[in-house]
């Protein structure tokens, strides 16, 4: 059975194609101004890479912030469900009770029950505080490329400099003040990572279990952030291979599970449509 997961995020689109047990292909691309078109193009490319004709695809599931912008999916789900399914699929044999997902627009913490069901989740509020975007903006402010910014933060991990704000707007003015005082860019970069990590760690302690943590999403590619979160959680954090693709993989996993259930005849009735506009 071949299924695809399309994760339309605020900053990037991710597509994964699976054949039952394995991920055949997966790619990440910037979402750009037209995320639906970017998703369509990427979808075609990933199918090509996987050597699958669109007609041979059994099902495609869409998820992420733009999950309803895409018109070629067969099922829609939230990124929270997809993230949980994708993480558990990506780290077989490992006990995971907490998932941290740092994306471009929001940060999520998902608590899992021992059987893997979603127990509780928490998201940052409507602003950019605590998200990947926050770090990107500060890199620009410091006139550094993002990789430079991350490396500088890694090198200055033991800085004593504190950043008080996790608000993207206020942090900028705080950075201006730090630069004026003559603080080193590396220290400022490290302080920014610590500010975010502290916020994420308290989200984890509020809803889930600091042990058995898995870190996914674009943010997990940032080694400085991984280290900072480990420090603030006082626990090891596991990062799967290709953490940015996990949600798309999860969508593909859910699609194939749903199909299996259908085909096994366990689910003869269509599930209630929750996407219809307006009851009753």
């Amino acid at each position: 059975m071949i299924t695809a997961g399309i994760d339309v995020g605020s900053t990037t689109v991710k597509v994964a194609v699976m054949d039952g047990k394995n991920v055949r292909a997966g790619l990440v691309e910037p979402a750009g101004p037209l995320p639906a078109r970017a998703a369509r193009d990427l979808f075609t490319r990933v199918l090509g890479q996987a050597g699958v004709a669109e007609t041979d695809l059994d099902a495609a599931a869409t998820t992420g912030y733009g999950r309803r912008l895409v018109d070629f999916g067969d099922m829609v789900m939230t990124e929270i469900k997809a993230c949980a399914a994708g993480t558990l699929f990506s780290v077989p044999g490992r006990t995971i009770r907490t998932i941290i997902d740092v994306g471009g627009q929001d940060t999520k913490v998902i608590g899992l029950a021992t059987d893997g069901d979603i127990e509780e989740f928490s998201m940052n509020d409507k602003c950019a505080a605590g998200t990947g975007r926050f770090l990107e903006m500060l890199a620009v402010k410091l006139d550094m490329s993002y990789p430079q910014f991350v490396d500088a933060a890694l090198a200055a991990r033991d800085t004593l400099l504190q950043m008080n704000s996790t608000c993207a707007v206020f942090a900028e003015s705080e950075v201006v003040g730090m630069l004026a005082r003559g603080e080193k860019k590396g220290d400022i970069a490290a302080a920014a990572h610590h500010a975010i990590a502290a916020r994420i760690a308290s989200m984890v302690r509020r809803v889930a279990y600091p042990d058995h943590c898995c870190f996914v999403g674009g943010g997990a590619r940032n080694q400085a952030l991984v280290k900072a979160i480990e420090e603030h959680l006082n626990a090891q954090v596991f990062v799967p291979e290709n953490p940015q693709l996990v949600v798309a993989v999860g969508a593909a996993v859910c699609a194939s599970r749903k199909l299996e259930e259908r085909r096994a005849g366990e689910c003869p009735m269509p599930s209630p449509a929750r996407t219809e506009a307006g009851p009753p």
């Binding site: 939230t78 929270i80 409507k126 009735m269 929750r274 009851p279």
Partner: protein, 420 residues
């Protein structure tokens, strides 16, 4: 009648701040229009729903024979206002456009209900100025302080509440406070509340309770018959000073419409109990989301929802003093408001509703800047979890900018509710 005493120091009285703001007025109309457009998509609506909506749109109307009296919160007994010859008009405001205007004069760090409600007074053309006088309880901090501010605009009475809902200890004091409210109303309206008039008023509100209960039970049985949003509009329209006898007649029509509804298939939508902060027309953001995401609200504990009129005033004796005690018992000691020391009453009600209505989850509407509801989620969440009932806290304010984030949370919650 006791000697009138000013609750607010007259030496520091201010001229009322007025800020004519046609822009805000237009935005407020747009907020209503936006909701109308959204609700038009509901497939099955009562034929006479426009009548209820028009009551909410109009605000207090002029009537010299029965002058409107503005009140806030659900803890002021409207029966007392009725018995003094006034028309009780609840002024808690849910219009997002007015929040910012309220901030211009008060502070930004006050809850949206207080800011928007106060903002109505800033507009010299707002119909709230038709109110002969105003009454509010010392419930939360915002309400406690709003009385003195509003007293610059209209004669205002702040009704003191006990901090504990311990009727054994505080019922007599609360009844005494209602007597003080009755004195204030009699002075402002020129009519004292006789025992007979109070009985008549209680009879009216008891009939409202009976009708809403019937409708609520019919809905819990067949949620497809009536949208919770339309139900809220009907309930809240009864707080506009409308003639309750006429209102009853219109609700009777809806009740018939609801009973006649035949649910064609088994309804598979998740059933939720709604609790938390007041949802006030036209701020139906959360209700819109719940129904758009395909869930049904089958019970609530909101002071602006079914719970607001759920409890009847129960009478053992019919002397004037006994009537005041009955009102205090109903409006103060049975209130689900988080301003009291213990939240036991609300937790019990939520558990009772969840079981009785066969709900699969509990949704909490947390209003940003209301610390009282926020603190209560600590216990509510844990108690429900112990009972294995899924719980989601949607914390937000009146603005629409976080709608999509809320939608993700709600949909993910519904996914887990359905999986369990």
């Amino acid at each position: 009648m006791t000697k009138p005493t000013s609750q607010y120091d007259p030496r520091y009285r201010l001229d009322p701040v007025k800020a004519p703001n046609p822009g805000a007025r237009k935005r407020a109309r747009m907020a209503v229009h936006h909701l109308d457009e959204t609700m038009r998509r509901i497939t099955r609506r009562p034929e006479n729903i426009e009548w209820f909506e028009s009551l909410l749109r109009e605000g207090p109307t002029e009537d010299s024979a029965r002058p409107p009296v503005g009140y806030f919160c659900n803890m002021i007994p409207p029966e007392l206002i009725l018995a003094c010859g006034g028309r009780p008009v609840r002024l808690d405001c849910g219009n997002a456009a007015l929040v910012q205007t309220g901030e211009e004069v008060l502070s930004g760090e006050i809850c949206p209900v207080a800011k928007a409600s106060f903002a109505m007074f800033l507009d010299p053309e707002n119909p709230v100025h038709r109110c002969r006088c105003l009454v509010l309880p010392s419930s939360c901090d915002a309400k406690r302080k709003l009385g003195e501010v509003l007293a610059d605009y209209r004669p205002t009475f702040t009704m003191n509440l006990p901090a504990e809902q311990d009727a054994g200890r505080y019922l007599a004091a609360a009844a005494k406070e209602l007597e003080r409210l009755a004195d204030f109303l009699s002075r402002e309206l020129g009519t004292s509340p006789s025992r007979r008039r109070l009985m008549e008023a209680i009879d009216l509100t008891r009939r409202r309770t009976a009708l809403v209960r019937e409708l609520d039970m019919a809905r819990a049985d067949k949620p497809g018959a009536l949208s919770v949003r339309d139900f809220f509009i009907m309930i809240q329209s009864s707080f506009t000073g409308v003639d309750l006898v006429r209102w009853e007649k219109e609700v009777g029509t809806v009740l018939e419409h609801t009973r006649k509804y035949h649910q064609p298939r088994e309804r598979l939508r998740p059933r939720l109990v709604l609790t938390g902060a007041p949802i006030l027309w036209p701020n139906f953001k959360v209700l819109n989301l719940v129904e758009e995401c395909g869930a049904d609200i089958v019970g609530d504990t909101l002071c602006t929802g079914v719970q607001s009129v759920w409890d009847p005033v129960s009478l053992d004796e019919t002397g004037y003093g006994a009537l005041l005690r009955a009102l205090a018992a109903r409006y103060i000691f049975a209130a689900p408001c988080p301003c009291f020391v213990s939240q036991g009453r609300r937790v019990s009600r939520v558990l009772e509703l969840a079981e009785e209505r066969r709900a699969q989850g509990v949704l909490h509407y947390g209003l940003r800047l209301c610390q009282l509801f926020d603190v209560e989620t600590y216990r509510l969440n844990r108690v429900l979890r112990q009972k294995g009932i899924p719980f989601l806290n949607l914390r937000t304010d009146y603005s629409l900018e976080d709608t999509e984030q809320l939608r993700v949370r709600l949909e993910a919650f519904l996914e887990t509710v359905e999986a369990s």
